[in-house]
Symmetry: C2
Subunit: 360 residues, 2 copies
């Protein structure tokens, strides 16, 4: 095991589809979405057996960093890396990578998420350890989640032959990254047994990642170099503030991974869900005998099935509902058909267009 | 027109099926259910062109009378007749009748409701005037509402031949009162054109009603005499408190009208609805292009149809719902399928069994 194995926790974004609980200044990762602890706190708890707080780095937006610092008091202040604005995962990860590279040229990083649900936390940590060993040999490792449904909301990773075998985990050569597929394609991917969901979690050596970044995103790397040179100098903040707005948005999947060399995928089956929408929360959490899930509320029910009640301590009474989501917040109540949970984003977009900053 | 024509406004009951807005101490008639004015205030406004406030009597429960007095400030205090507890409509009306009989032995009374919706208020007042003329001749008049659906939630009145004709209104002999019918019977009643809904509104001379009461409910009349003798004496309250708990509950329909002589029905078509449940409120009120009705709230909608939002100023967002009722109150949110709106009563009964006085 590399002595300089770090976790880079990606804590940007808002989680728009979890409106009205998520707001611009109350992002998904900072919400107690599934219990008393916030998703960010749960992520830290989950990683604590592997990474001491000084080996956790957090990338977050400037408007969220104070909130996250309060929720992760053990993490040193300098480990919070602030993005002036969101520019996609490739620039965010790269920012973390140059910070880490300054600490230890031979550092290894696990790019992890602050807002995902993982049922089997011990299995997850075992996978991170195994992936670390594979990555130490120079591979760029992606954690691929074994699909149990033909989901169309995730990207898929197609695998080829086995490259490495480490402690019950197999690392396969990646044949292709597939964007969110059609329903028919998703059915095929599920059936052929050669595809994993793209979890957005990656493990690699910093030097290897930066080398592939230089090859795949040379224009951005010139900008990144300018930031890198300013790190630790009095001009660090002003340089970032000057350069970052000019950075083009890009995801690490399309910007780097699709074109990178020596990319492998380790399939894992750990009860993972990105909780992208209220519907996925209902799918993930254990319900009562009728499939109803109630968080932070008292649910009085007469004949309702498969209902999610996400509240704020008040009583929510339901009669005769099926497959419905109810989210009770201080100033907005949302009632949504489960199969239209994705439309929450469109409602939020409309509110943005209408300038409804009071409820965004 | 009789100079001593009074309105007896029945303002008892809670309106359990309109929980969680209605509560033990916030009964339906005292709620701003359809707009800014409460149902009681709307009833008073509607009657104001016919009855001066001193000719309005109000029968109410002891726990509601203060609330109603505040909402009907023009009505003299002594016109509020307090029932120590609910005993059904027959005793309540009889209590009003003996108060009126003391004022004017030849008084005539219109027994009216405090919590019903009437679209055509002018037509309603014309019917009351015509009914007053019919009642002056000694008939016991019931106002029968011309049905437009085979409702099973109302009682029906079957009519025979025409007895009187007054100003475009016809008074028919009543052949029978029918309890809430089966769906098949309701279909027949609607089709045969000889049935009206029992609106619970009656017009008669006080002397005629008391005479029929004496004949049909002699046991109760002995109790009523005891109360009557104490009216206006220092022992009035204590007598009522002593006698009333022993009075048997009875409706005026079954206790008196079914057996009374000279009962007539005047069919009226005035857009009447008793707003017995949230579903009826959705039926009665004009909706937007998709049939959605929003009261006391801001409704953000994406693709929902036939939804009732009854709020308290907060924002209610709905996505993809159909035929759903949402009631947002201070401490409880109710979300209910429209076609199960009657089940609200069962939920309240369950809460009573569980001793949930906090939300009753």
């Amino acid at each position: 095991m590399n002595d300089h194995y770090y976790a880079l926790i990606m804590a940007g974004g808002v989680g728009t589809r979890l409106w009205p609980l998520s707001r611009e200044d109350r992002p998904k990762q900072a919400l107690p979405l599934i219990g008393d602890r916030t998703m960010f706190q749960i992520a830290l708890d989950r990683l604590a057996p592997l990474f001491t707080p000084d080996r956790m780095l957090v990338v977050a937006g400037s408007n969220h960093v104070a909130l996250l610092k309060a929720q992760g008091p053990g993490i040193p202040n300098e480990n919070f890396i602030v993005e002036p604005m969101g520019r996609g995962t490739a620039p965010a990860i790269a920012l973390g990578a140059i910070h880490l590279g300054r600490k230890h040229p031979d550092a290894m990083m696990a790019v992890l998420t602050a807002d995902h649900f993982i049922a089997d936390e011990a299995g997850f940590r075992r996978a991170l350890l195994a992936a670390g060993k594979v990555a130490a040999r120079g591979h760029l490792v992606t954690l691929g989640v074994t699909p149990d449904t033909p989901a169309t909301g995730y990207g898929y990773i197609e695998r080829g032959e086995v490259v490495e075998s480490v402690e019950n985990f197999l690392a396969y050569r990646v044949m292709s990254f597939r964007e969110k597929p059609s329903a028919a394609a998703a059915e095929r991917f599920l059936a052929d047994g050669r595809h994993s969901w793209n979890s957005g979690m990656f493990i690699w050596r910093v030097d290897r990642f930066l080398a592939e970044l230089a090859r795949t995103m040379p224009e951005f790397c010139a900008q990144l170099d300018e930031i890198d040179r300013a790190l630790g100098t009095p001009g660090e903040s002003s340089t970032l503030a000057k350069v970052w707005p000019r950075v083009a948005s890009q995801t690490v999947d399309y910007g780097v991974m699709e074109k990178a060399r020596d990319v492998v995928v380790i399939p894992i089956d750990i009860g993972w869900n990105d909780i992208g929408s209220w519907a996925s929360l209902l799918d993930v959490l254990p319900g009562d005998a009728d499939g109803n899930v109630c968080i932070h509320a008292e649910h009085l029910n007469a004949g309702s099935r498969n209902v999610l009640v996400h509240g704020r301590g008040r009583i929510v009474a339901t009669i005769g509902l099926e497959d419905v989501i109810i989210v009770d917040t201080e100033d907005v109540v949302l009632v949504c058909r489960k199969d239209q949970a994705e439309a929450v984003k469109r409602m939020v977009d409309r509110l943005k267009d209408e300038g409804r900053t009071d409820i965004l």
